[in-house]
């Protein structure tokens, strides 16, 4: 499968994200308790932890889909040696998210789904981009297929393709390996490797092993809404990864 580079917004090299005392409550339920975490540009962070630890909530806050109940969220941009804050509004088009839901329209074709989102993001040369994206994720032959008829694996691949369409500089993934077969997992690993090498910052949550984790430069584990362990920038991620249960089905 080919590699199709994404165009960068001029001057934006890579995006970092900073959680400062971020907490999130849903009525009586507390999902996150005072999380302070600084992720530098270009890092590949594996977000680990059991179900209910707050991984999804953290990712949704990072994606600007949710406001924290307290605390602050900051985006930083590094151009050359300098690092400065980026206002949320400007960071928004640079974010990409792959979530539990497919975020697709079942009644539209794969091509129509991607075209719609490409237009919404104001991308240029929509037709070519969509075709290239479909080729890259291996759905070129099914471009005119209605998403409703797709298998779980195909849907997941299209979801990931949609998230990458606008060339995000910070990619948030919530259990992206779910539903992918061996070929799909290999493709995911290749895609993430390419993104990482291109300077994209990646924050990926998972609760089981998969190939893409090998690419991680840092591991942060959550438990009960708090950071239980953080290997930091120079830490060794392997012990934490080894502790994960089994292989991804």
């Amino acid at each position: 499968m080919s590699a199709h580079g994404a165009t960068l917004a001029p001057g934006v090299a890579s995006l970092g994200i900073c959680f400062e005392g971020v907490a999130k409550r849903f009525g009586p339920l507390t999902a996150l308790r005072e999380i302070s975490l600084e992720i530098g540009a270009g890092e590949f962070v594996a977000l680990l932890g059991p179900n209910g630890a707050g991984k999804t909530t953290l990712l949704r806050i990072a994606a600007l889909l949710m406001n924290p109940s307290s605390g602050n969220l900051r985006f930083t941009v590094a151009t050359g040696a300098a690092q400065q804050d980026l206002p949320l509004e400007q960071a928004k088009p640079l974010l990409g998210m792959v979530a539990h839901n497919s975020l697709l329209y079942d009644e539209l074709t794969a091509s129509e789904n991607l075209t719609f989102f490409a237009q919404l993001y104001g991308l240029e040369d929509v037709r070519a981009r969509v075709l290239a994206a479909l080729e890259t994720c291996g759905l070129g032959a099914r471009a005119q297929g209605i998403v409703r008829a797709f298998s779980r694996g195909m849907r997941q691949r299209l979801t990931i393709a949609r998230a990458l369409l606008h060339g995000p500089r910070l990619l948030l993934l919530d259990e992206p390996a779910a539903g992918l077969d061996h070929q799909g997992l290999a493709w995911l690993a290749v895609t993430l490797a390419r993104l990482r090498d291109g300077g994209c910052t990646i924050l990926m949550s998972t609760h089981a092993r998969n190939e893409s984790l090998e690419l991680a430069t840092r591991a942060v584990s959550l438990a009960g809404g708090r950071i239980a362990h953080d290997t930091g920038l120079r830490g060794d991620v392997r012990p934490l990864l080894a502790a994960l249960q089994g292989a991804e089905a």
């Binding site: 889909l65 009644e107 237009q119």
Partner: protein, 224 residues
């Protein structure tokens, strides 16, 4: 990206979705048709009676149809979480709302366009002479319906019992719109027909007030 352009893209998506599945439109048309036909069958009104009660019946039929149709339009976004993707895109909340409003308006307008001739035939009223002003009244009234209806479907999308809740929320607020639309339609069907400027201006006022309110408060509707 301007709001207008974003709304146009969203509208195109809505239309494509609906004409692929065609469930909403079918249900809306058939429901309105049933109401209108049933009433004609049960009461068999003369032409004079039709002029008297017809407008009220027409608008109530469309009101019910709208309240049935509005909920599914937001529910569609929720089924696969597509609303999240829309919120992450660099488009304003108002563009999202406007896109939905325009789509709902078109669906209702199509329903009305199909049903008005049926009404004219069953109730022995002639609409041809007043078609222009009639279309104006229906456009203004339907706009009010969709503006308030779309806002409330966004509100009730998060609540339990939302199918029942939406009409409950909608009908009291739309009462003045209903009165205005019915009166304006009635004066057009009267003998001699005349366009009532007072009621028409009222409809414009209603639309402007609630569209402005929707524009000011749209962020609160779209947020998580």
């Amino acid at each position: 990206m301007t709001t207008a352009r974003a709304a146009a893209i969203l509208l195109a998506k809505e239309l494509r979705l609906e004409f692929r599945a065609r469930e909403l439109l079918n249900a809306t048309v058939i429901f309105s048709l049933t109401v209108i036909v049933l009433f004609s069958y049960a009461f068999d009104p003369t032409a004079e009676e039709s002029r008297h009660y017809g407008p009220g019946l027409l608008w109530i039929a469309f009101l019910f149809a709208a309240s049935l149709m509005l909920h599914p339009s937001f529910a569609r976004e929720q089924s696969n979480g597509a609303l999240d993707a829309l919120r992450m895109a660099p488009v304003s909340s108002f563009a999202l709302l406007l896109g939905k409003m325009l789509a709902n308006f078109i669906f209702l307008a199509v329903t009305e366009a199909i049903l008005l001739p049926v009404f004219a035939v069953l109730y022995h009223v002639s609409l041809l002479g007043v078609l222009g002003p009639l279309i104006l009244v229906f456009v203004l009234g339907t706009a009010g319906l969709t503006i308030v209806g779309t806002v409330f479907s966004a509100i009730s999308a998060h609540a339990r019992m939302r199918e029942l809740l939406l009409p409950l929320l909608l009908f009291p607020i739309l009462a003045p719109l209903l009165v205005a639309a019915v009166e304006a339609t009635a004066s057009l069907l009267a003998d001699p027909p005349a366009l009532d400027w007072a009621w028409t201006a009222f409809l414009v006022g209603f639309d402007v007030i609630f569209l402005t309110a929707a524009w000011l408060l749209c962020d609160f509707l779209i947020e998580e």
